[in-house]
């Protein structure tokens, strides 16, 4: 009995040693030279493999970074400036900083604001619905509510609100990878500059119809009246096709346009309540639980505890 065990051990050890020797030589023979910096860069990246940089994954992005002579065309939206500084340090290049961004859904056509005109009964996908027809409300530009953006998000940062039927972005989780922007067939989602304390002001509408038609289909549609355009002191607002657009890079968050808007299409988020606001009917502020906070290193941004929704 014991001799069997000895034989077995000898035989297995022999096979093991033989395999190790073969593997060693094979590894030598087929060694592929790879820039060691690729591994270094990759380890500095977040490793989310989300594709937000435009490459197939973090490794592909790292390879691209090593290949390039300068980093102006390459940016990891998830890691942000800190991450790119690290990468630049490894490669001995100059880091290019970009303002941190966040996804914003530009439609406020809730069930109340935007009555349904028919009921969709196909595959639950915005892409399918949008290729079929203009949507189940009078507004052909608005959110279809099937959640293609939610399915596209790798970071659990966008969710459908069952009450409004609209998607909501959790700012703290959003890394601005742009997956939802790609997924939305109505191009409602925009990556906007993160304001201080996650404050933001934007036109929550994409309706290009003439004022009357837009207003008829949705109470809070932008009717293209240009009032905000006229009041803006910073030239941040542009008017095109009966629709106002606030450029987040130019907007200084002065909130003048918000008061001006006759249909409440301009939304302000993250601001303390106004002191003088007698002319506007008070609306209950919906407080939401703050999601788990992400560790943020240098900036003071991303640190709001709650998001106030108007």
């Amino acid at each position: 009995m014991s001799i069997t065990i000895v034989y077995t051990m000898i035989a297995l050890s022999a096979i093991g040693i033989l395999a190790a020797v073969i593997l060693y030589f094979v590894a030598q023979k087929f060694k592929v030279y790879e820039d060691p910096r690729i591994d270094e860069v990759e380890s500095a990246l977040p490793g989310a493999n989300c594709g937000g940089c435009g490459f197939a994954g973090c490794r592909a992005f790292a390879e691209a970074c090593v290949k390039e002579n300068e980093l102006s065309a390459l940016f990891c939206p998830v890691g942000g400036n800190d991450c790119m500084t690290d990468v630049a340090g490894i490669l001995g290049l100059e880091a290019v900083t970009k303002d941190p961004r966040v996804a914003v859904v530009r439609c406020n056509g809730t069930c109340e604001h935007r009555p349904k005109t028919n009921q969709f009964d196909g595959a639950s996908s915005c892409a399918v619905a949008s290729s079929l027809y203009s949507g189940d409300t009078g507004c052909q530009y608005g959110c279809l509510g099937h959640g293609d953006c939610v399915a596209a998000c790798d970071f659990d940062a966008i969710h459908m609100n069952p009450e409004t039927g609209l998607p909501e972005v959790i700012d703290d989780k959003c890394v601005a990878c742009g997956a939802c922007v790609e997924a939305c067939p109505k191009t409602l989602i925009e990556l906007r500059k993160r304001g201080p304390k996650d404050r933001k002001i934007y036109v929550s509408c994409r309706n290009e119809d003439k004022g009357g038609i837009a207003k008829k289909s949705c109470e809070v549609a932008c009717i293209g009246c240009s009032k905000c355009f006229k009041v803006c002191p910073f030239d941040a607002i542009t008017m095109k096709n009966n629709l106002a657009f606030i450029d987040s890079d130019k907007c200084k968050l002065c909130r003048k346009c918000v008061v001006e808007c006759p249909t409440n299409a301009i939304i302000e988020l993250g601001f303390p309540p106004r002191k003088i606001k007698a002319d506007l009917p008070p609306k209950p502020a919906v407080k939401k639980e703050a999601p788990v906070k992400k560790e943020v290193k240098a900036t003071e941004e991303n640190k709001t505890d709650n998001i106030e929704k108007k």
């Binding site: 196909g122 996908s125 399918v128 027809y133 203009s134």
Partner: protein
């Protein structure tokens, strides 16, 4: 043994409720909305403006390119506005709204019902006349007919196929045309043969219309080169490629047009429109539309002016039934659901189907049990279950390699799926995406 195509196919309940209802002329509506894009290809350019007086048959929008078609006014009256309005595409489209005043036709149009048999034999003149009259494929695809009649360089048409199959359940407009306008139809076929310079034409008719087959066979016996081919009742027998396969045995190669095997397919309604355009100088301003549905009081076949709101048809057929859950422009297999009764009848509207609440709703989707039925019924030999998966997961290379572009969107897969999976919804989506990828690659 009846001829048919080999691969796949389904047989939905036929429900041809209006098959024995003669074509009736529908009274003129108060106003019409004539979209400028009623065909595949470039939209036509509107020639009229608000306040203009128009007559029936007057050109109101000019063809916007080679693959495009002229649009004529279907009524006489005043142009109210040129603006966007909903049509059956589901999106607001540019069109001309005309208030109807009287019924005054453009001079030179023969509105009598006398049969004009002798015709022009110069192909070029026939094609020009068809082009001018804005004739498009009336089977539903609305491809401009004059484009079909000019084969691409180096190709030659050998045979003309006339599609009288009407394989869609419920629809009967082609059936009635074949019964009531057979003489005109055959002159139209002769004109098309002449334009294509072919000496053989087949009219394919599904075997569930024995009266039409018999009637046309009697008339065609006097003509040389026109043959009536009874076909097995099987959907999608009226699909262009399936019809060619069934009648001639030729298989259009993947990605190619029918002309690649020397065939040109035209609908019976189109042949009639060709007759009217060439012999009567009458543009395409009206067509036969079936209005039907299980709860509809008087299912009927109406001769309707283009642009008439479908509400008029519904009223004429006894009003909108209480239990209507869905309104479909076209047949139940390939037609489009519409959101309101204000949308206009266009050149491609072969029928209006009012579905009951119970029929209108889909069943909830279940897991695929890989029963192989979608593969078995696919007339193009595709794997719908697989195409749906790759479309949903957005793996476009695999979708393209699995021939997603060959899909004819007949709906046999979704129809037959026991797990109620929306196969075609996703395949159509994938087809659009893959099509865009292919086009951007060519650039």
């Amino acid at each position: 043994m009846l001829k048919t195509f080999k691969l796949g196919g389904v047989h939905p309940a036929e429900n041809k409720l209006s098959a024995d209802k003669a074509i009736e002329k529908l009274a003129l509506p108060k106003s019409v909305f004539i979209p400028v894009a009623q065909h595949i290809g470039a939209p036509a350019q509107a020639l009229v403006k608000k306040g203009d007086q128009v007559k029936v048959g007057q050109l109101v929008a000019k063809s916007g390119g080679f693959v495009s078609a002229n649009i004529h006014s279907s009524v006489s009256g005043t142009v109210k506005k040129v603006d966007l309005a909903m049509d059956s595409s589901g999106y607001p489209k540019q069109g001309i709204l005309i208030d109807v005043e009287g019924d005054e036709w453009e001079t030179g149009i023969d509105t009598s019902s006398t049969l004009v048999k002798n015709f022009e034999t110069d192909p070029k003149k026939i094609i020009d006349r068809i082009n001018e009259a804005g004739v498009v494929g009336l089977g539903g695809a609305t491809f401009p007919t004059h484009v079909k009649l000019v084969p691409p360089q180096g190709m030659k048409a050998e045979v003309l196929l006339i599609n009288g199959v009407e394989c869609e359940p419920y629809l009967t407009s082609d059936h009635r045309v074949m019964l009531e306008k057979a003489d005109e139809l055959l002159v139209g076929v002769r004109l098309l043969m002449c334009a294509l310079e072919v000496d053989k034409a087949y009219i394919g008719i599904e075997n569930n219309k024995p009266d039409a087959i018999k009637h046309l066979k009697e008339l065609a016996a006097k003509e040389s080169g026109i043959e009536i081919v009874p076909l097995k009742v099987k959907y999608p027998q009226g699909g262009e490629k399936q019809l060619i396969k069934a009648v001639t045995g030729r298989e259009v190669p993947s990605g190619a047009l029918p002309i690649a095997v020397g065939a040109v397919v035209s609908n019976v309604g189109t042949a009639l429109a060709v007759y009217e355009a060439v012999q009567k100088n009458k543009p395409l301003v009206e067509r036969v539309v079936t209005i039907t549905g299980k709860s509809v009081k008087n299912p009927a076949n109406f001769l309707v002016r283009v642009g008439t709101p479908i509400q008029y048809l519904i009223d004429a057929a006894g009003g909108l039934p209480e239990d209507t859950g869905k309104i479909i422009s076209g047949g139940p297999m390939m037609g489009k659901a519409v959101a309101s009764t204000d949308i206009p009848v266009t050149k491609g509207t072969s029928g209006i189907l009012l579905m009951q609440d119970a029929e209108a709703k889909r069943q909830p989707m279940k897991n695929c049990i890989r029963c192989t039925r979608c593969v078995t019924v696919c007339p193009m030999g595709l794997e719908p279950y697989f195409l749906m998966t790759v479309s949903d997961k957005q793996i476009w290379e695999k979708a393209e390699a699995s021939k997603i572009m060959d899909c004819i969107e007949c709906g046999s897969c979704s129809y037959t799926c026991p797990a109620d999976r929306p196969l075609l919804d996703y395949i159509r989506l994938g087809k659009g995406k893959v099509g865009n990828i292919i086009r951007s690659r060519k650039k």
